[in-house]
């Protein structure tokens, strides 16, 4: 599945979860998947949904325009952490401020992966403090905000539960929903898939807390 991704990549787990949830909810025929560039774009030839590849950081703008005209469709805004919190943070903040009907999935691996692993605002070490979206948008009147990790079976189950909740809220209540997924990038961590996943459990989840931050 999703053959262009590296072995152990979190994007694969994320997309498989989305595929399962869309199938379970029987909404494939009204799903639109809007993807950011870089490693996200590696998915576009494989997905079974009508899909859009957007300019870097602009997914939430494109989906805002789309959703305004086709309110019955389920429009997923799928992006990495560079798009969501660096080049696209303005769009993110204003989409949350407006409480747009948005179903946002952020794949957070702390790096600009496609270009070779340069540090993103989410990166953490002694000199980089990271970037926590819950500190930025929790006070807006948004619908749902949660974080999970794509690191092992148990965490992936939690991720599925959060994403599924976000879908339900989006379809029933509307408003801005975001699920961030801590996601291994073994290639740029220079670790095996197993060690990359362990690193997320042992180090990343200590800083980036798993849980639901807003559930309105």
């Amino acid at each position: 599945m999703y053959d262009l991704l590296c072995e152990g990549c979190g994007h694969r787990s994320a997309m498989m979860l989305l595929d399962e949830i869309i199938q379970e909810k029987k909404i494939k025929e009204k799903t639109i998947l809007a993807l950011d560039v870089a490693c996200c774009s590696l998915l576009i030839d494989f997905v079974e949904y009508d899909s859009i590849m957007c300019a870097h950081g602009r997914v939430l703008d494109v989906t805002k325009g789309y959703k305004e005209m086709k309110k019955d469709n389920v429009v997923i805004s799928y992006m990495g952490d560079g798009a969501a919190y660096s080049i696209g943070i303005e769009e993110m903040i204003h989409s949350a401020r407006r409480n747009d009907d948005a179903l946002t999935i952020v794949i957070n691996n702390g790096l600009y992966s496609m270009t070779g692993g340069q540090v993103a605002p989410t990166y953490i070490d002694s000199s980089n403090l990271g970037f926590k979206i819950e500190e930025i948008i929790s006070n807006f009147s948004i619908t749902y905000l949660a974080r999970a990790a794509l690191s092992d079976k148990e965490n992936i189950n939690i991720a599925k539960q959060y994403i599924s909740t976000a879908f339900d809220k989006y379809m029933e209540k509307g408003g801005f929903s975001l699920v961030e997924l801590l996601s291994p990038c073994p290639t740029n961590y220079k670790l095996s898939p197993k060690d990359a996943a362990n690193m997320i459990n042992e180090k990343i989840t200590k800083v980036y807390k798993i849980g639901e931050f807003v559930n309105a």
Partner: protein
């Protein structure tokens, strides 16, 4: 009904009559009347209006709306137009239509807001990255501003390419009495075959400009621009068949030159005029019909003689070329007449 409208208001009415149903924008002078028009009247005319947080957001929102089948537009000026270039390049490459009004402002950088035509190169050559063009339509009157949105939407949907409508701030803020008929509004979303509405046939549609498997990308783009250049050149010509001197000018300069040729003819000087309506594709066919022309005068409002480069290129440098140009000081009819008389 007759209304007294400036160019920006006329453009907004024209867009409504053309079936526009989505507007996202960010205010910037001298295009702001269009933004305000849709902010205040969008609901009344069934045009969804969104306050975007920047021009970057605005143009990406119209891309999304267009992919949903909307007749989507925005209006901007100067640096705001610059901020839209990445998305324009995406839409050209993705085969997504949209209409963008660029009311040109003076100079580079922030510049200022007087009349100017300094965005000629940016609009016609690309402006964003890569191998593409926008179709560019220039208005020289308030009547043009009413009619151009319909032409712009039709061309953008026919070729699935962004269309830029442009004029300078003299046209934006001059008021003229024009006939409008807003009763014929039709603004449902399009259901063109490429529009995304969910995969209902096990054949997913993709709006993309990166292809890992399908290699038809370069040919598709090449064919699109060849067809546009062959089929869509538009221009107005005045008294060109026997003209020894031909003026070339667009927007406010074109408007002024219409009076120049009348006055010149009264004096027995054989002057003609070509007003490009499409700045891209450049209307080279207009020049193929010139029989007696020896000299061409390009009248334009930019210091780099931007349109002159195209005129010389497309006429294979076979005439004697002159420029009347400045950044934002419009020559009068008498200025141009005097130049013609001294030049002879």
């Amino acid at each position: 009904m007759k209304r007294l409208l400036n160019g920006n208001e006329a453009f907004a009415y024209g867009a409504i009559v053309a079936g526009a149903n989505f507007y996202a924008g960010y205010p910037i002078t001298p295009s702001t009347d269009v933004y305000e028009f849709f902010e205040n009247n969008g609901e009344k005319y069934h045009v969804k209006f969104v306050h975007a947080s920047s021009e970057v957001s605005a143009v990406n929102m119209i891309m999304g709306a267009s992919i949903a089948g909307a007749r989507a537009l925005t209006a901007t000026s100067g640096c705001g137009f610059s901020l839209m270039q990445e998305a324009i390049s995406y839409m050209a490459a993705d085969f997504v239509p949209c209409v963008i009004l660029n009311v040109m402002r003076e100079g580079a950088g922030l510049g200022d807001i007087p009349r100017s035509q300094g965005d000629y190169n940016q609009m016609t050559k690309g402006g964003g990255n890569g191998d593409y063009h926008s179709i560019v339509l220039a208005c020289k009157s308030i009547r043009d501003c009413i009619n151009m949105p319909r032409i712009a939407f039709e061309l953008s949907e026919k070729y699935r390419n962004p269309v830029i409508v442009t004029y300078d701030s003299d046209i934006a803020h001059t008021k003229e009495s024009v006939e409008i008929n807003i009763s014929e509004i039709k603004n449902d979303t399009n259901e063109l075959d490429w529009i995304l509405n969910g995969n209902k046939t096990n054949n997913p549609k993709r709006i993309q400009n990166i292809y890992y498997h399908d290699k038809g990308y370069d040919n598709n783009l090449r064919n699109k621009y060849e067809l546009i250049e062959k089929n869509e050149q538009r221009y107005e010509e005045y008294e060109t068949s026997d003209a020894e001197i031909v003026l070339v000018a667009f927007s406010i300069c074109g408007r002024i030159c219409i009076d120049v040729i009348k006055k010149a003819r009264e004096k027995g000087i054989k002057v003609g005029l070509i007003i490009p309506i499409t700045l891209y594709p450049f209307p080279q066919n207009a020049f193929k019909k010139l029989n007696c022309c020896k000299k061409i005068i390009i009248v334009e409002l930019n210091i780099l003689k931007q349109m002159r480069c195209d005129v010389e290129y497309y006429t294979k440098q076979k005439y004697e070329y002159h420029s009347i140009n400045s950044m934002s000081t419009c020559p009068t009819v008498l200025d141009i007449l005097k130049y013609i008389e001294e030049m002879r």
